[in-house]
Structures are given as C-alpha cells and as structure tokens.
Amino acid sequence: MLSKSKIFFKGIVAVLPHMLSVIPFGIITGAIGVELGFDPILVYATSLIIFGGASQIIFMQLLSGGASSLVAITSVGVINSRHLLYGAVLSEYLEKLSFIKKLFISYFIVDQGFAESNKYLRQNKNLSNPHYYVLGTGITLWFFWQLSTISGIILGSFIPEELGLKFAIPLTFLAIIVNDLRKLDHVFVMFVSGFASLILFDAPFKSYIILSPIVALISAFIMLRLKK
C-alpha cells in the first residue's frame, strides 16, 4: 500500500520531464505580456487567476490589439473548455472526495498533469488515494508555471527567439501520446483530431481546440459502434 506522500511524490516525478517545455513557455508568456505593454502585476494575475498557458497569451494579445473584453473572455473560455473533458475523465478518481476537496483540486487540473494522472491511474485502478497523484502533478505544474512567468516578467525574454522554443510545446504533447501510437484505434482518433484541427484552424475564437476533439470523440463513438 502506497502512502499518501509517496503517491503525491510519484505525481511530482511524473510531470517533471514536461518542465523542459513548461518553463520556457512560462518565460515566453511573462515576457510577451510585458512587451505588449501590460502592467507586470496584471501579467502575473493571468498566471494566478486564469492559469492556462496558451489562453493567457491569446487573452493579452487580443486586449492589446484592441479587441473587446467579451471577445477576449470568450476566447479564453473556448480554449480552456477542453478541461471539461479532462474533468470528465479524472472524476472517476476524484468522486469519493468531499465537495470542498473537489473544488480545491479542480484548480490544479492542467494538460500535462491530466495526461500523466490518466496514464498512471488507469494502470493502478485500486490505488487508495488517487487524488494525491493528481495533486502532485498539478501543484508541480502550478509552481513552475508561476515561477517561470514571474521570471519572464522580470527578466524579459532572455531566451533568444532564434531558438524557436515554442516548438517545445507540440513536442511535450507528442511525448504524451506517442506511446498510444501502438494502438490502432487511438491512432485513428489522433489523425481525425489532427486533420480536423488543420481544417478548422481559422474557426472563430480558436475554437478548433475544442471542435477537433469533439469531432474526434464522435468518430471514436462511431468506431466503437461499428466494432461491436
């Protein structure tokens, strides 16, 4: 039986490799905010209050470009709506918690944390305190995200732009799903999602980020029906 702290620690270790892309991305996010002319406190507030990488950058770009608050808020909502899917998956492991604990842990649901938690908890279904794993991943990502955006705000983009470190973002997500390429049904769903995102890329409010997964999940549903 694993103790709570051991499970928490396992969660931390599982997401640490992703810091290779999270830290540069956080620095870039902080630096972009200041470059766009926002007050450093406001830039940091997006990391604390919104806490969602790409959505923070788009939010600040839209506002500085003269878009209305409604457009900026809608875009953030659309981009971050994918968390609904993460929540639906993770709820299996969090359903026994009290309402207050659910409210607390929800704040820490992030892409990489969801992915690693999902991977580990699926293989360890009878773990007694699975939420400690989710917390370990989430709090680690939160901590490094806050720290790296603050460094970006203070130091500016000290990462040379020629390095093209933005490319680390698709790579970190590639690392998450690359193992599922061994399963043909998952490969099918991935390609549906990927191609959908290329076709829907110009849809308003960056909605390709949620529309493509919906298309892919519908095709997964159809695939499952046909298999039976």
């Binding site: 490799p17 806490f51 608050s69 953030v76 929540g87 769903v189 991935m190 390609f191 999602s193 890329f201």
Partner: protein, 105 residues
C-alpha cells in the same frame, strides 16, 4: 476593465476545470460515454500538436521543407521506441536546431 476581464476569464476557466469533477455525478454518464472518454488524450492533444507543427506564427501552412516537420518526425520515432518524455522532447529540439543552425546556414 482589464482586471475585470482577467477575473471573468479566471472564473470561466475554473468552471471548466471544476464542472465535471464537482457538479456532475458519474452515474449520469452512460457506459458508452465512459468508453469514449478513454480516447480523450488521443482526441485533444493532436489538435495542439498538428497546428504547432504545420502552421507558422502567422497562421499559414509551413512548407514541406520546414524544420519543425523533421524535428517532429525525429521526436516521434525516438519517443515511440524510447517511451521517454525527456528523450522525445530533447531529440525533437536538437534535430530542429541542427537543421536551422547548421543545414540552413
């Protein structure tokens, strides 16, 4: 006004994280929905990866010779065989840098 937008965006984002965990009873989801939920990573992440590789900063398709495509292929192969996150990211970045700093110079 900016503060207002940040706070509302924060509430909307928090709601998206919390709704399915705290407000929805799992019993309400049918077995078919639960089965489909197995595909959430496969359905979500390619929609972040593909545009990140195949589009440039201005939102138009990159050329077939774009270093990002080859970096992604290297990362894909290394990741598939190594099953290691660090190796996947580093191999992708290194091959990307190798192309832009040595081959294209």
């Amino acid at each position: 006004m900016t503060w207002f937008s940040i706070i509302v965006s924060g509430i909307v984002t928090y709601f998206s994280r919390m709704a399915m965990v705290a407000l929805i009873d799992r019993e309400m989801l049918g077995t078919k929905v639960k089965e489909v939920l197995n595909y959430v990573p496969a359905a979500v992440f390619p929609a972040i990866i593909f545009p990140g590789v195949f589009f440039n900063d201005f939102g138009s398709f990159v050329e077939i010779t774009d270093p990002k495509i080859y970096g992604a292929i290297v990362a894909l192969v290394v990741g598939f065989y190594s099953r290691n996150i660090i190796a996947t990211i580093i191999s992708g970045l290194l091959s990307y840098w190798f192309i832009i700093f040595f081959l294209l110079k």
